[in-house]
């Protein structure tokens, strides 16, 4: 009997190893493309596969007197050896050569550290209905992924999540569906809130923490999803109205400022500046649905923020006038050192993940000049992004693999705002993993340490009917 079981498992593993149908990549000889990239010394091994298998191929990694060789078309690192090599090469280049094909490239090891890990949502890139999904955490120095909260624990959709500059102890997390709630978790405290109020449009989404931790900027959006009929475009997510709201965590009050709740404009994606004295947000002129989604374009605005009262100033400044050049801004993210702001630029609308033309742009906050973030660009969508706590690394989502499934990439951004060539989130067996993984990475954010989140308590709160109601306070004229 044991022999039979053993034979069965042997057959199973043999079948599982046949593969052979994985992605074909025309652009690069290795997958993922780790050629000439810049990586932090604390990153997990960059395992990769040659897209054209050659069993006699020898790949050599050299730095100083260290040489590590791999035979065959799959490069799979021993974690200890990899770490040793990266530590030795910190601030320098590792030379990589391969014999078949005969080529060479470098991997630059940056002296800038990267954070402990990242948090993200995983879900299928679909239309309206969702299957299994959740918020996950990935340690960047290893391949370890941990589920933080999955919708197997309750009936609903795990939605916008946000930590404050990578701080793992404070989290804002929105749940949609029958058990809709916003979970606010801080050290020793977790509560489920109803963020919909009589005076606001709907639930609070797209959270962004104030550096002090006292406020969270939200927007409230009346969102619609529509479906295209032509082959090269599937989905459009658009708003029919939206406002920006500031939530005072200590007072449990939404501070409503008229300048970001205009009836003739739609304001969304609010973020605080690095010093917390300003609010950046995207804003578009109100459009009737009949005008068509393709006419809705968002500019990037800035307004002052009063930390004492939570009020957004009345004077609005256009920081990026995208509309004038027929473009639209979404997902502004200021670097935490106050030097730059990276945003997504697409042809129209605000939900750029379904826009293949969407790219990341960087705004120099000293000069006010914007330029495309060259190291991150591909022919496909680049969309949501976040800065590491030291403002030297950018994590962003991209659909460059196949145009549909969003993967995570990292790019080093130097003092001048130049981004290095992006590298894909490493995996133990990347071709198999990404080739068979039907989920998209969504809303990535850095973590300085493992998230301290009690999922058992959270799901109990979500499943319970009680919600603490968000209060409301007007900070100016209604």
């Amino acid at each position: 009997m044991i022999k039979r079981i053993f034979a069965f498992l042997l057959v199973l593993s043999a079948v599982s190893c046949t593969g052979g149908l994985y992605q074909e990549y025309s652009g690069c000889i290795i997958y993922p493309d780790y050629m000439d990239v810049t990586v932090p010394s604390g990153i997990a091994p960059l395992n990769f596969d040659y897209t054209v298998p050659a069993e006699d191929n020898v790949t050599t990694f050299s730095f100083g007197d260290m040489q590590i060789r791999f035979k065959g078309s799959a490069v799979r690192w021993n974690a200890r050896k990899w770490r040793k090599l990266l530590q030795a090469a910190e601030g320098d280049d590792i030379q990589v050569t391969s014999t078949s094909p005969d080529t060479a490239w470098t991997i630059h090891v940056s002296e800038d550290d990267i954070d402990y890990g990242i948090a993200y949502r995983l879900l299928e890139p679909g239309y309206e209905v969702y299957s299994k999904m959740g918020i996950y955490e990935r340690e960047l120095s290893s391949f370890r992924q941990r589920a933080i909260l999955e919708n197997t624990e309750f009936n609903g959709c795990v939605n916008c999540h946000s930590v404050n500059r990578g701080d793992p102890s404070a989290l804002s997390l929105h749940i949609r569906g029958d058990h809709g709630a916003t979970i606010l978790a801080s050290p020793g405290k977790m509560e489920a809130y109803n963020t919909r109020t009589d005076t606001t449009k709907g639930f609070c989404v797209y959270p962004y923490w104030h550096p002090s931790g006292r406020y969270i900027a939200y927007s409230t959006n009346d969102t619609r999803q529509v479906y295209h009929s032509k082959p090269d475009k599937l989905i459009e997510v658009c708003d029919l109205s939206s406002d920006v709201l500031i939530y005072d965590v200590e007072a449990n009050e939404l501070k409503l400022s008229p300048s970001v709740r205009r009836t003739d404009r739609w304001e969304t994606f609010p973020v605080f500046s690095a010093d917390g004295a300003s609010v950046y947000f995207c804003s578009s002129a109100e459009h009737m649905p009949s005008d068509g989604v393709e006419d809705t374009r968002y500019n990037l605005y800035r307004a002052s923020f009063d930390v004492a009262t939570g009020a957004v100033g009345d004077s609005l400044e256009i920081v990026v006038d995208a509309e004038s050049v027929g473009k639209s801004v979404s997902f502004p993210r200021p670097s935490y050192d106050g030097r730059f702001l990276v945003y997504t630029l697409s042809d129209y609308g605000q939900f750029s993940i379904w826009h293949s033309e969407a790219d990341l742009w960087i705004l120099d906050l000293r000069t006010g000049e914007s330029r495309v973030l060259a190291g991150t660009v591909s022919g496909e969508t680049e969309s949501f992004h976040n800065w590491s706590s030291n403002s030297r690394w950018l994590v962003f989502s991209s659909r460059r693999d196949d145009g549909q499934f969003t993967r995570l990439y990292f790019s080093h951004v130097d003092e001048s705002g130049n981004a290095s060539k992006a590298f894909m989130l490493p995996q133990k067996d990347p071709s198999r993993y990404y080739g068979t993984f039907f989920m998209s990475y969504n809303v990535p954010d850095f973590l300085t340490a493992p998230l301290r989140f009690d999922n058992v308590k959270a799901s109990r709160l979500i499943n319970a009917p009680d919600r603490t109601q968000f209060g409301v306070k007007f900070t100016g004229n209604k």
């Binding site: 679909g126 239309y127 624990e153 479906y227 032509k230 693999d401 499934f405 080739g435 058992v456 499943n463």
Partner: protein, 570 residues
């Protein structure tokens, strides 16, 4: 026990096996197809690992393994019968004292389980879990009382919990029957600890971990029946101990016969109560549609008309595919435009069928949308081989080859879709081969090239856009006119109807032309030349009968095949 008893035992089990197999094979085959189409069993180690990594995962994996064979209803019937007979035999083996009477009793849990499996939310993995738990209890129960036995029965509980899920409690209690009474509370404590500890490790709620993560596809009454079956399996060994002394061997045969009759009657009424033949009927249409057995659909509706909207949807598609929609659609009961495009609902059953309609009309984006949504709505988060096949197809048509490759890659790991998937995947590197593929080329010719936002409230406009781009899309044209007719929007019909497309104008269009003339107060004698004189005569007769207030049955008998009756019928 006598030799006769042995024969009788064999006959009874064979009878049970045959009855269950015949039931599934003849009366309930599409229930099995339904189960198969909502899973994607990949014959790979990562898939195995992902399924077994939750409590009860191994039994679930085994259940999924068996379910892939349900593509053939007779194979499914055989496997379901085997599972149920295995359960009966295991219950019999676990009985302490044997008699023919107790043998008949041993059918009880299997019959209850059989009834539970008739519910379409019940997963075959649940039956495997129960079988496996009983099977694992068997060697422990057979051991003489000792410390090793006690240790095995206690240590086995978390193992069985991980393999089979919460039916580990059945294992624990059966094993505890031969132990000292002090072992029982320890067993119960471990049973209670398993789901509670699991809650800290796995992302499932306590109720799920207590009742089984994958026993049911969604919440429903079947889980209660399943647990009744498990409870009966548990108490049978004890009951057999009590009964033996009352029925000595002389009384064993008549008592067994009476018991057998009672159980058979109870099972029959249970089957009648739980079996959902209405769902089976809809699934039959869906299956025939999936198999493109258009003639069978029409024949089925002709001989045994169904009043289900989904059946009507399949029928209209079948009529269209056979090119007789414009001649025959009003021969059958219609459900308005719902019979063409049933309203979208967030369920896993309906959109999959509507997607078939979109596919056949060349509405590739809408098909992909619906098929994707259907798959995402599968309550137990499984994927569907049927959906993957379609998604691979839509992505290939639209040139998203790397996305298609993902679906094909997964399908290539399946037993029954692997060959097709590998064939299609081989084409992906060769644009010329893809373009030459008959299905893909055909669909590319039909699919919309310019953009229109999909809205199920304005499908007629989308159909018009299709026809404008591809006038040769006959199916879309027939559906558009059917849409106008079913909406009774004769103005739209007049706008959309182009007699020049036909050498002979189809019957229902002639009827609609006459109907619109009546609506407009025109004389029927001035009907266009393409309307047959006999048709005009019949219309006049129809008007006369309506005015005469003829009975409904009379009108149905005389004009039951006309559009006119659809328009005037309540």
């Amino acid at each position: 026990m006598s030799k006769l008893d042995s024969y009788l035992r064999g006959i009874l089990s064979a009878l049970f096996f045959t009855a269950v197999a015949l039931f599934f094979g003849l009366a309930y085959p599409h229930h099995l197809h339904f189960q198969e189409q909502y899973q994607l069993f990949e014959w790979t180690l990562p898939y195995f690992r992902s399924v077994v990594a939750v409590p009860g995962g191994f039994a679930d994996w085994c259940g999924r393994f068996l379910t892939q064979f349900f593509l053939s209803s007779w194979a499914g019937a055989f496997l379901m019968s085997s599972l149920l007979v295995a359960m009966q035999l295991l219950c019999w083996k676990l009985m302490r004292r044997k008699s023919l009477f107790s043998y008949v009793l041993s059918f009880l849990p299997a019959l209850v389980l059989f009834i539970a499996t008739l519910d379409y939310t019940m997963m075959p993995g649940a039956a495997v879990a129960l079988d496996l738990a009983l099977c694992l209890a068997l060697p422990v129960v057979g051991m003489p009382a000792s410390g090793v036995r006690t240790a095995l029965s206690l240590a086995g509980i978390p193992v069985v919990y991980m393999l089979c899920g919460p039916v580990a409690v059945i294992y624990a209690l059966i094993c505890a029957t031969g132990e000292k009474i002090s072992v029982l509370p320890v067993s119960l404590l471990i049973c209670a600890a398993c789901p509670l500890v699991s809650r800290l490790i796995f992302h499932f709620s306590v109720p799920q971990l207590l009742t089984g993560v994958h026993y049911c596809r969604s919440e429903g009454p079947c889980i209660i029946i399943f647990w009744i079956s498990a409870a009966v399996a548990l108490i049978l060994p004890v009951v057999s101990l009590l009964i033996r002394d009352r029925f000595k061997s002389v009384a064993d045969y008549p008592a067994s016969a009476v018991l057998f009759t009672i159980i058979a009657i109870a099972a029959f009424s249970g089957v009648k109560r739980i079996a959902d033949f209405s769902h089976e009927e809809v699934m039959r249409y869906d299956w025939l549609c999936r198999q493109e057995k258009w003639d069978e659909i029409i024949e089925n509706q002709r001989t045994k008309p169904s009043d289900k909207v989904l059946a009507g949807c399949c029928l209209n598609l079948a009529l269209c595919k056979k090119g007789v929609m414009s001649e025959q659609m009003f021969n059958y009961g219609q459900h308005g435009v719902q019979g063409l495009f049933p309203e979208f609902k967030i369920v896993y059953t309906l959109p999959i069928q509507v997607a078939e309609v979109f596919w056949n009309l060349g509405m590739v984006s809408a098909c992909q949308n619906y098929i994707f949504e259907a798959q995402e709505a599968i309550p137990d988060f499984q994927k569907s081989a049927r959906c993957y096949v379609r998604l691979a197809g839509t992505n290939m048509i639209d040139g998203r080859y790397e996305v298609a490759r993902r679906y094909l890659n997964s399908l290539s790991n399946t037993l029954f879709y692997g060959k097709w998937a590998k064939k299609m995947a081989a084409m992906l590197s060769d644009e010329a081969a893809v373009a030459a593929d008959e299905t893909i080329a055909g669909m590319r010719a039909l699919r919309l090239k310019h953009d229109i936002i999909f809205d199920e409230g304005r499908i007629d406009e989308i159909l018009r856009a299709h026809i404008e781009e591809t006038p040769e899309n006959r199916a879309a044209y027939e559906y558009l006119l059917a849409y106008d007719l079913l909406e009774m929007d004769l103005d739209a019909f007049k706008r959309d109807f182009d007699p020049g497309r036909f050498s002979v104008i189809p019957k229902h269009y002639q009827e609609a032309v006459l109907m619109s003339m009546v609506d407009d107060g025109l004389k029927l004698e001035e009907a266009p030349a393409y309307v047959a004189p006999a048709m005009v005569e019949r219309m006049l007769s129809f008007i006369k009968d309506v005015k005469a207030g003829k009975s409904k049955s009379f009108m149905h008998k005389k004009y039951g095949d006309t559009y006119w009756l659809y328009c005037t019928d309540d």
